[in-house]
């Protein structure tokens, strides 16, 4: 009998403790608001660190919501002029060496982008956490000097690629500093680690992010945002197939 009492008391105490945590879904909304802008224009550096070599690629990127994005690679020389256009569910790549535009579909979507830990599929993922997940704050943690909430996200629909995500979110800035994506069965598949954060206007934004496919060897792919502007005016023609060949 005592055991049961103890259990009940334990549950009550724990519930009380949880009650101190804010609503996870509200936090998700604030993350979305911070991370997603109407439009962005950025210059980025991607450093792919494989077992054998390290490759650095630079690109200029435009995006509009989570629907449309356009990237043009500027370095290294071998990749210069390569352009990538995402428009809804479609993805095209222009290869200057062959002067051809190809649509990435089928099995090609599973391939990695420029040898990185990101696949084209990952690029195609929807970016709104609030729409796709319901979240519970599980605890708090000082992560690399910042106070964070530990959040557990569960997919709302069974069709979402990652059914479970764990996030460490900066309590103050609403930037997810660390992210774990899990397989349905519970196996850790991918991690994202924000190494540096920058301030742009009144929002905080990740500046240096390390993506890692946890099933794969290697040090992962480092993604650095050199410069980013939010809510800039982007001419519509940027997101057209014609701009791939320009």
């Amino acid at each position: 009998m005592r055991k049961i009492y103890l259990t009940i008391i334990g549950v009550i105490i724990l519930t009380a403790l949880f009650a101190e945590y804010p609503d996870g879904n509200v936090i998700l909304g604030r993350i979305d608001a911070n991370m997603n802008a109407r439009t962005t224009k950025s210059t980025t550096t991607m450093i792919v660190q494989t077992r054998r070599a390290t490759r650095t690629m630079e690109s200029i990127n435009w995006s509009q919501g989570s629907e449309k994005s356009f990237s043009e690679y500027t370095a290294p020389a071998r990749e210069r002029g390569t352009k990538m256009l995402k428009d809804g569910d479609n993805l095209w790549i222009f290869d200057p060496s062959t002067d051809r535009t190809i649509q990435i579909s089928g099995n090609m979507l599973k391939q990695s982008v420029m040898g990185s830990d990101l696949s084209y599929e990952d690029f195609m993922e929807e970016t709104s956490l609030r729409d796709n997940y319901s979240a519970v704050v599980k605890g708090e943690l000082v992560h690399e000097g910042r106070d964070t909430w530990i959040m557990e996200l569960t997919a709302k629909k069974s069709t979402t690629s990652y059914q479970k995500i764990v996030l460490y979110v900066d309590k103050e800035r609403y930037v997810p500093l660390y992210e774990e994506r899990y397989a349905k069965g519970g196996k850790l598949l991918k991690t994202t680690r924000v190494q540096e954060v920058m301030q742009s206007g009144n929002r905080w934004y990740p500046q240096k992010i390390l993506y890692k496919d946890e099933l794969k060897d290697g040090k992962g792919t480092l993604f650095i945002i050199n410069k980013i502007e939010f809510d800039v005016k982007i001419p519509a023609h940027i997101f057209s197939k014609a701009s791939l060949k320009k």
Binding site: K110, K187, L189, L215
Partner: protein, 390 residues
């Protein structure tokens, strides 16, 4: 009479005749040998295809396209009841297909995941090893796949796949066995596991992508979602490839025939030139030009006829050897992924191929021997007797 004279002339020409006959015989042996190879190769590939994967044809989901992994996410459905009856009887084997990724030693390899009932009997795949339960999922791969992925028996490797809804999932699979299969379509770039387990993993119970049928005679009526693919249909790529191969083969032999025929032609041109005095004698003795032409042509044809006999005698040990022991491609060729080449190809000869080869060679030889003799018609007997060309 013409044949008798032609025969005497061939006998008289001795070594030169023998060389011509041997050249033609070798060409004939080559042609029959290679045709026998193609025929044997095709039969081997067809047998392997039947034994290992395709049975007597299969009932396939309409949306399935084996070259488009995207289609695999849509191309499966619950096995129709009347087909399930065949499965229960043991005369049909359902297979479910999905795409996946494995990470052996941290490398990433995309592959095809195939589910097949561990208890199936009629396909040669050693699926019994898939039944063994335990914590990890037993899987079966072919030796080619083992080589390319550096996987060994007993290795445990993480497999990532998407369930039928699209969610990622991952689990460890154990390589329960590495099978040696000559049928590469059941080997390259794929891993086999138990059907029920894969159905569970996909969250798609009782489904299949195609159902292999043991006897095309008892294919039941199915819904519009399914279509019956006969063995011929399934082998169409191979037939097409074989046709190309054969065409190359024929081209090569056309070249060989050409060379042999140039030898004959040369012999004949030389003969007509060198034997013009003889032609004059034949004329003086009362042969008509027609008879002389016929005799020369008959000589050429006799070469081919004797060559046929010689080909039979000389080629027989070769034909028998390749028809019984067969020919094994060097290992390096087996990696090309060409069906029917990874086990010894037993050559197969049909009467039609032998008869047609003989007829073609005899006719062409006759034609080639006839052309130069047309000069005889222009030859005046008096000039011929003096050893002059007209």
């Amino acid at each position: 009479m013409i044949w008798k004279l032609a025969w005497r002339n061939i006998q008289g020409a001795g070594l030169r005749s023998l060389i011509n006959i041997i050249i033609i015989a070798l060409v004939m042996i080559g042609i029959i040998w290679s045709q026998g190879m193609y025929e044997g190769w095709m039969r081997t590939a067809e047998r392997e295809s039947r034994e290992w994967l395709n049975g007597d044809g299969r009932i396939t989901h309409k949306l399935y396209d084996r070259f488009d992994p995207f289609s695999w996410d849509k191309s499966f459905e619950q096995i129709p009841e009347n087909i399930q009856d065949l499965v229960d009887k043991g005369t049909a084997v359902p297979v479910l297909i999905t795409s996946g990724t494995i990470y052996p030693e941290g490398r990433m390899i995309s592959l095809i995941v195939k589910g097949i009932p561990a208890g199936q009997q009629f396909l040669k795949l050693p699926t019994a090893v898939l039944a063994d339960g335990g914590d990890d999922i037993p899987a079966l791969i072919g030796s080619n796949m083992a080589k390319s992925s550096h996987l060994k028996e007993g290795d445990i490797v993480t497999l990532r796949w998407r369930d039928m809804h699209g969610a990622f999932n991952a689990a460890d699979i154990r390589i329960a066995a590495i099978m040696k299969t000559p049928y590469l379509e059941a080997d390259n770039g794929q891993v086999w596991m138990d059907l029920e387990r894969l159905q569970l993993m996909k969250d798609a119970p009782k489904t299949a992508t195609f159902i292999v049928i043991k006897d095309a005679g008892d294919v039941p009526q199915t819904s519009d979602a399914w279509t019956f693919e006969s063995i011929d249909f399934l082998l169409r790529d191979m037939h097409a490839m074989m046709k190309t191969e054969k065409t190359y083969g024929y081209l090569m032999f056309a070249l060989l025939i050409l060379l042999a025929m140039i030898a004959i032609f040369d012999t004949q041109v030389l003969a007509v030139f060198k034997r013009r005095k003889e032609i004059g004698i034949f004329a003086a003795l009362g042969m008509t030009q027609k008879q002389i032409i016929r005799m020369f042509t008959a000589e050429g044809m006799l070469y081919a006829v004797f060559a046929s006999v010689a080909a039979g005698i000389l080629g027989m040990p070769l034909f028998i050897y390749f028809g019984t022991v067969g020919y094994r491609m060097p290992e390096s060729y087996q990696d090309f992924g060409i069906e029917g080449l990874s086990e010894a190809v037993i050559f197969y000869y049909t009467p039609a191929m032998i008869i047609s080869t003989v007829i073609i060679v005899v006719v062409i030889t006759a034609f080639v021997s006839w052309i130069p003799t047309l000069r005889i018609a222009r030859l005046k007997p008096t000039d011929a007797l003096r050893g002059r060309m007209g």
